[in-house]
Amino acid sequence: MKQTASIISTYASDVSGVCSSLYELGGLTVMHDASGCNSTYNTHDEPRWYDMDSMVYLSGLTEMEAIMGDDEKLIGDIVSAANELSPKFIAIAGTPIPMMIGTDFAAVASVVQRRTGIPSFGFSTNGMHSYLSGAGMAYEAFARRMVNPNMKRDSSPAISVNILGITPLDFSVNGSAEAIKEMLTESGFNIISSWAMGSTLEEIKDSGRANVNLVVSYSGLPAAKALYEIFGTPYVVGTPIGAALSKKIMEDLKCSAESGKAVISYEKRDILDSTDMVIVGESIFSESLAFALTDEYSKNVKVLCPLETDTSLMLTGDFAAQDEDDLIPYFKTAKAVIADPLYYPICPESAQFISLPHEAFSGRIYRDDIPNIIGSRFLYWKF
């Protein structure tokens, strides 16, 4: 494997995933890196940077600190900043050089917590995985340590739900997050929290009250599994795209809350040998979109997922790709390719290219063109 991209972009990394997932929760998030991660994150991966406050910073690691293994500089700087800013928690995320020198992030976080009295987390990210990995790591850690373990499940008639796995990297800031909430509310659900757009840390801490969790992207799955382990809360997997899938997800949430069993809402989709369309993107979103296209337009769709995922989330016949070389053969046999515009250069002329910008791939470039296709809005998406 040559691991090359002659012309296409690259996905946001695990470090950005940690920052993005925790952005709205009032904590201090530190990227332990020399330079570059912070401006990459706030320029390309974080649409909230200009208008919404946060405490995301860079450690400014130097060659000498790395060679000498000087963790004390990092710890001291974090403690000093925490004393100034009074964050609700502290998260420290690693990058390539800390990985190479074997920085023990759990130990660093432990020392920081002892000195500040503030809950602290160390994430062994290394910039070599996607945002889904980083966000998933952060959400799982919060499920295990920040959610109140003594919380009792709601017994009110309305079913309570947490939404897991919403970041602007997958859902941008185009109203999709709000649309999912609106749909749940209109369907009679009581939303406890949204991990993590539009919720406070206090709401996240109350997540144990939920009767069921809705996992809308792969980044939410580790937290869903942890919440199941801790509270026995079942989960439903699927992004509510299109009227039919949305309706099914709402029904699955009710069934799952009652049965206690996990459900993948999009799993009953036929995949035929001949392919009308391929979709490139995050697994849960893309599988949900494929379901909607099959159900509402009778298209034969194949999902190509170039990101981390769980094999159980992919349907038979879909494909987990590694790099540009893996995707090209599938593009060549498809009649149409639905993907971020930065995939266009590798799309053959024989295939129709349908643009579906993805913030985690093209960043801010096509942000204004990212459609909100939640629920029945899908029908208005012109492709």
Partner: protein, 441 residues
């Protein structure tokens, strides 16, 4: 604008009266904030100045993200490729073959062979002891018709000798090869932006029959290579000084370092050095000085006592500019700079003594995220970071001095200040564009 999370508006540590500031580092280093003012060029923008070149970055996904999208935002994705470093490469120690095979694979896929390839290795290669000599030797043998040069994205080295910016500007000219020298050719090197044709510097060169070359004006690879013919290189950005010294050693091109300045005596001294090199009579700059003085007076009449803030991305000499303005009666309230260059030591001392209550602000201190950005009073900023931090919509939108130089540079800057003072700008939109002046989206 930002809401304040915890109600704190305490500037201590992030802002200081200049009279209390220490040279050259007034602020204690700690965690760093990155404001959303992105006009300063990065190594991708600068590398793209070599016509018909192609960039290949070899680093981890997290590090690739910023540079690949820089290229995409410049609409130059077809001149940019990547090789991702993964955990197995670190464990297997196969970094050399990853680069050689990856570059070969990319070249086999490109529709047109580039004339030159800039290979950017990263911090991880430095720490792994990657044998880059072997890599480049192999690639040069395999592709003899392509010029390869070594470039670096290794910010971890930013405090260990040359900064990545200095190194980039040095490597930008590394593909120039020794050729016979043309005595009537002179280069201006090390700038991302062209120097104004109206500047005394450019006029003296052109009007005395010399040909002026600058990478910012090169359209073809041959034009770029022809810069090696020039007898001398002029640099005026401190980060490009080493580029000129390197070329003097490597290609025997005379290096004239004539730093950007706002001090009349230094400007004149620089221009006199140029005159001596050109073997021309020392020019009389009385008229140019008068024009600059008149422009300063006019700007002062319009701007009055309105507070002015300057940042280090607008000019290489923020202290010098503050001094010039204060000497001409302007109300310079603040300078945003994290460190002070040795070249500005005297201006810094002058400001401490003559404008002791002027504020000096860090741009990266953690508190800068929360300091109020709403200017209740009208304020004129020079530079994007100053505009962002003060929240003003009246600002001079330049980076790196904006190509303005000498007495003419002062005249032009005064015009820009007047215009900025009179016309509001959309700060949020303008300052978020990467690489001001390089056609980014």
């Amino acid at each position: 604008m930002l809401k304040i999370v915890n109600g704190k508006q305490d500037e201590a540590g992030a802002g200081i009266l200049i009279k209390d500031a220490k040279f050259p580092s007034p602020f204690v280093s700690g965690l760093e904030y990155s404001p959303p003012a992105r006009g300063a060029w990065n190594i991708v923008h600068t590398g793209m100045l070599i016509p018909k070149s192609h960039q290949i970055f070899i680093c981890t996904q997290g590090c690739l993200r910023g540079v690949v999208l820089t290229a995409a935002e410049m609409n130059a994705a077809n001149r940019f490729s990547t090789i991702a470093v993964r955990e197995n490469n670190v464990l297997d120690g196969d970094m050399e073959s990853l680069i050689i095979d990856g570059v070969t694979d990319i070249l086999s896929k490109l529709k047109a062979k580039p004339r030159a390839i800039l290979i950017f290795t990263s911090c991880i290669h430095h720490f792994m002891g990657c044998d880059l000599k072997l890599v480049y030797r192999t690639l040069r043998e395999r592709f003899p018709d392509i010029d390869f040069t070594d470039c670096y994205m290794n910010p971890i080295m930013r405090k260990s000798g040359m900064t990545p910016d200095q190194k980039m500007r040095q490597q930008l000219y590394s593909l120039l090869k020794p050729v016979s020298v043309h005595k009537k050719c002179i280069n201006i090197i090390g700038n991302n932006l062209p120097t104004e044709e109206s500047s005394e510097l450019v006029r003296m060169i052109i009007e005395n029959g010399f040909e002026l070359k600058d990478i910012t004006g090169c359209k073809t690879y041959e034009q770029y290579l022809s810069m090696a013919e020039s007898a001398a290189n002029i640099s005026y950005n401190p980060v490009a000084r080493i580029s000129g010294d390197t070329l003097q050693t490597r290609l025997s091109q005379k290096h004239l370092y004539l730093p950007l300045s706002y001090d009349y005596a230094e400007i004149e001294s620089n221009l006199n050095q140029l005159a001596a090199y050109l073997h021309i009579k020392t020019p009389d700059f009385t008229e140019e000085k008068a024009k600059a003085e008149k422009a300063l007076k006019s700007a002062k009449e319009i701007i009055g006592d309105t507070p002015i803030a300057i940042d280090y991305t607008a000019t290489m000499r923020p202290m010098g500019l503050a001094r010039l303005l204060i000497e001409h009666g302007f109300n310079v309230a603040a300078v945003y700079a994290d460190t002070i260059n040795e070249e500005e030591r005297q201006d810094f001392i002058w400001l401490k003594e003559n404008s002791p209550i002027m504020k000096l602000y860090s741009t990266v201190h953690v508190k800068m995220r929360f300091l109020s950005q709403n200017s209740h009073k009208k304020l004129l900023a020079i530079g994007q970071k100053a505009a962002y931090f003060t929240g003003t919509s009246y600002f001079v939108n330049i980076v790196e001095g904006g190509g303005m130089y000498g007495f003419d540079g002062i005249y032009r800057l005064m015009q820009l200040m007047e215009e900025a003072f009179l016309r509001e700008k959309d700060t949020k939109s303008l300052i978020q564009v990467k690489g001001l002046g390089c056609c980014s989206l």
